[in-house]
Symmetry: C3
Subunit: 178 residues, 3 copies
């Protein structure tokens, strides 16, 4: 789809942020990072919801099925606390999971904090969309996106999503010659 | 719960050790290692059982639900042999799994032996308790605990378990400032 | 089983290769690599089938149950594309999975291409056989086999499969003294 803006859902999952008692810093951190990476036209669809599995599932489905997002990036709700249910919601709405994303994001975060192993973050596919869970903390968000985003444009090519181009001085995307 | 002893279950899973034909070296290795790490009061609840899935499930449930263990550490039964069923039993009694533990324990063990990839060890949560599978071999036990234990005290904080303090000269636990 | 040839299934999974519109390069790459590793007698059972989950499941079952392969190595069908269903088929016919294989193969491939995280390749056990998914690309096949094969002979020992011996100048297999 040349000359079409890629749509990217940015979903903040936080009881406190959705209640307004806490400023959402995860969503803006994702938007800033993607803005630095991407040179092809795109637009962000941002939403903030509480840590409720049903609402997370519905939000992902709406961003993908109704709004046509090729990529949905979540922030928050991936830890071991009882209220953390983002991976469960993501698993429920994806037809298949890509375990390499979670593995690599944990490995990258481990270089910064030993508690990275507590994150249950995953990634998966729903139709022609890729869903990626990120942690809630802005610095961890950047670490995780820097680790996995080089593979994201080619992944969208393979599943029939939007074509993304990146600024190679910021983030070098990799497309194997096939 | 200040001034309360944290309870930690140490569960040796081995047909031979439970039949008395083989000295249990895994359980003592875990107790020694935790003794070296921990400065806060704790007590070990030790049991030895055969490689029977139903008995493993029951033992974990009793240690958590009846005895109030905040942490249960198993040794043995994580390999590919048909009798190895510890991960299956652990999965069955946990409400959620923490894949980062197994990934990191295998990565750490791989620096020592290439057969580390044969271990199916996992970790998961049951209520306010963390369950961690360790290998059977004492040297591998230490390698795995050294790798993941820095994240254990904060994990217990997040799920509402006992508060653990470690000797930073032996093992530096990490608690992010939140 | 001394003086018995170990049987190894090599299963190429590709719509194009099975239709004859594309030369199968993955199957020969696996056969060449195993030929370089192994010094004990073995024979390859090679098949090429399309990316159809039911056919993949049937082929693995026949290679294991009917033909007595101790090891089945697949190539192709592990990516995120809708036609890629090799991991699903493998999961369906295995009694247990060995997550360390997929983790290590992705880690090894990541040193070469950032898109390694898109591979969903796994390994698992069916009876006394080990099934390993490899990527389709010959160079990635060698990278993955070099990473995991040191643990394969001991894995077959543990599950009751054929005994494999390797040339230590090419690939050093590891068998812990027990």
């Amino acid at each position: 789809m040349p000359n079409t803006k890629a749509r990217i859902g940015i979903l903040t999952i936080s009881d406190r942020a959705s209640a307004g008692v806490y400023e959402d810093r995860g969503g803006p951190a994702i938007a800033d990072t993607l803005g630095a990476y991407l040179t092809s036209p795109w637009e962000a669809l941002r939403r903030t919801i509480p840590d409720e599995q049903e609402q997370i599932e519905r939000a992902i489905c709406e961003l993908v099925d109704r709004d046509g997002c090729s990529l949905v990036v979540t922030t928050g709700g991936t830890g071991p606390s009882p209220r953390d249910v983002t991976p469960e919601a993501t698993t429920a709405v994806c037809s298949r999971l890509l375990p390499g994303f979670g593995e690599l994001m944990r490995t990258a975060s481990l270089r910064e904090v030993p508690t990275a192993i507590l994150s249950r973050q995953i990634a998966g596919l729903r139709g022609t969309s890729l869903i990626i869970n990120l942690p809630g903390k802005p610095s961890a968000i950047r670490t995780c996106l820097d680790a996995v985003f080089p593979a994201v444009p080619y992944c969208l090519d393979l599943i029939g999503g939007a074509r993304l181009e990146t600024d190679p001085n910021v983030l070098k995307a990799f497309r194997p010659r096939t």
